[in-house]
Symmetry: C2
Subunit: 310 residues, 2 copies
């Protein structure tokens, strides 16, 4: 029996998992991400947690295939360092330290890529040879998998589809410095920005005007309930997202497109609406590409980390 | 000494080449593409040309690695057939016939992918591990190469970057049925459409108003000479193209972007202008990705065909 450890490092928690090589998740747990002292303690926290788990279960080092690590930034396998702005890492020797501490093989990748690999292996992408995962969360992230390999790109920007330009006339600036990036519309925050815009453009009544807190879920619930302005918001959101998906499909032409992240919890109504707009923008050959909801939720990352060890 | 035949099938001519496996082009020639009878004669024309060349040079079949064939459509290696609307082929047994006639191994791909592989192997992409080639001709085509392999996509639409939506407010329809596709602006015909639009929007004088024939070259020459309206045309063209390139870069993040096709003959002035707009739209990590002119011109395809045999 071979085991693997999965480590999905986020800004607030580190999600960890112990897998069998078959893909069976034996156990999962999480640690708080200690971002004090420039994220200095993170490798030791993770390493000790793995060593403690091996000891508790009586797992020998030779039975562990390694630890797959996803991180919110970029890993440099060649010199064992990683960059992650939110953790305070710049060329921080994360891989090297974790390797030294645990004696295990360490395989790393960007967290969005890990999630895409997880969905490819055990999620909604199972059975497809290629996929694009688009994560609709606070921002819009993404990962592209072709034949089991992630397209990380020459500068780690492969799958950074949140920054595809979709609106040349936008005046607001995106966090990346650009204008009219997909993330400005198809993220949870983008959804709210669209809502504010639509509500301010008209005087029509809407349940959203009385909403205690205007968020993505409230907007979609109102649209599903038939609120006219909420439907307009859902349409604009779906239209922008579809433009980005069409750009990606016309470039890499995956077998399936998966939507994940918080906003995707709306499920079928969102998938259906986005698909309607997607068909308008996509090239005929890939117009029929299915758009589905990602299946693994927050566990996609740890599945991908384990898959990276195989 | 090993040899390979390269066959780049176009709508009017078939470009053929004999290569050494080192990449040395020994000879090239072309045949007229016989599109009568639904393109029925094409495999025999090509096969006989290869057999005649082998016989003339005294090349034995065992010294030939095969024939790499690029075609303006989609090949189905699994059943030996090909689709190519312009040649009249629909599930036409091209590969099977050419194989039977010559006794050689036949390797096929889309012509745009072959050109991208050619540039990767022996052109402006030499020394890079990944590239995107964008061909600015009558239409806008493209090919993506990563680690020597083309991203053909699940439906052969990989690299169909001419149909990335770049202008949501376009009312004119693209040949693909969409609206606002990159090809509607960044092709030779798109360039002329932009020119007509700019000239009709103002009454400013311009040498273009007196041009005998308004084409892409005339427009760029006038822009280089300082004609204000021509500069406006060049800017709009470059702006649209840059949006498409940014979408591609944020998706696959290649090491280099190459521009080929007739419009790219303008050279440095075009490259410089497009780069200025690209920097505005690209994600920071890939903002510095070099944009260069493709090197092999019309021979890119045959180089790619040969590379496919290696």
């Amino acid at each position: 029996m071979k085991y693997g450890y999965a480590v999905d490092i986020g800004g607030t928690t580190v999600k960890m998992g112990l897998f069998e090589s078959s893909g069976k998740l034996i156990d999962k747990w999480s640690l708080a991400t200690d971002i004090t002292r420039g994220g200095e303690n993170i490798p030791a926290d993770i390493g000790n947690s793995i060593l403690a788990d091996m000891s508790n279960r009586g797992i020998a080092r030779e039975d562990v295939m390694g630890a797959g690590v996803g991180l919110p930034g970029q890993a440099h396998q060649e010199d064992g360092t990683a960059d992650a702005v939110n953790l305070g890492w710049h060329r921080f020797p994360m891989i090297e330290r974790l390797q030294r501490l645990t004696g295990l093989r360490i395989v790393t990748d960007n967290d969005a890529n890990m999630a895409a690999k997880g969905e490819y292996w055990m999620g909604s992408g199972k059975g497809f040879s290629s996929l694009v995962l688009v994560t609709l969360g606070t921002g819009v992230g993404g990962g592209i998998v072709v034949d089991g390999r992630c397209m990380s790109g020459a500068h780690g920007a492969g799958g950074e589809i949140g920054h595809i330009p979709v609106n040349p006339s936008e005046t607001r600036q995106c966090g990346c410095g650009g204008h009219g990036c997909l993330e400005q519309y198809a993220s949870a925050t983008g959804n709210v920005a669209i809502a504010r815009e639509v509500l301010s453009e008209s005087r029509e009544p809407s349940v959203l005007r009385e909403a205690e807190k205007l968020d993505s879920k409230v907007c979609w619930d109102a649209a599903i309930a038939g609120d006219m302005l909420a439907i307009e918001i859902a349409d604009r959101f779906s239209d922008y997202l579809a433009r980005g998906l069409a750009a990606v499909a016309n470039t890499v032409d995956p077998e399936v497109i998966l939507l994940g992240g918080g906003v995707s919890h709306t499920g079928e109504p969102l998938i259906r609406r986005v698909t309607e707009f997607y068909v308008k923008y996509a090239f005929p050959a890939c117009r029929g590409t299915p758009i589905r909801r990602a299946a693994l939720g927050n566990d996609a990352g740890i599945y991908g980390c384990m898959f990276s060890l195989l």
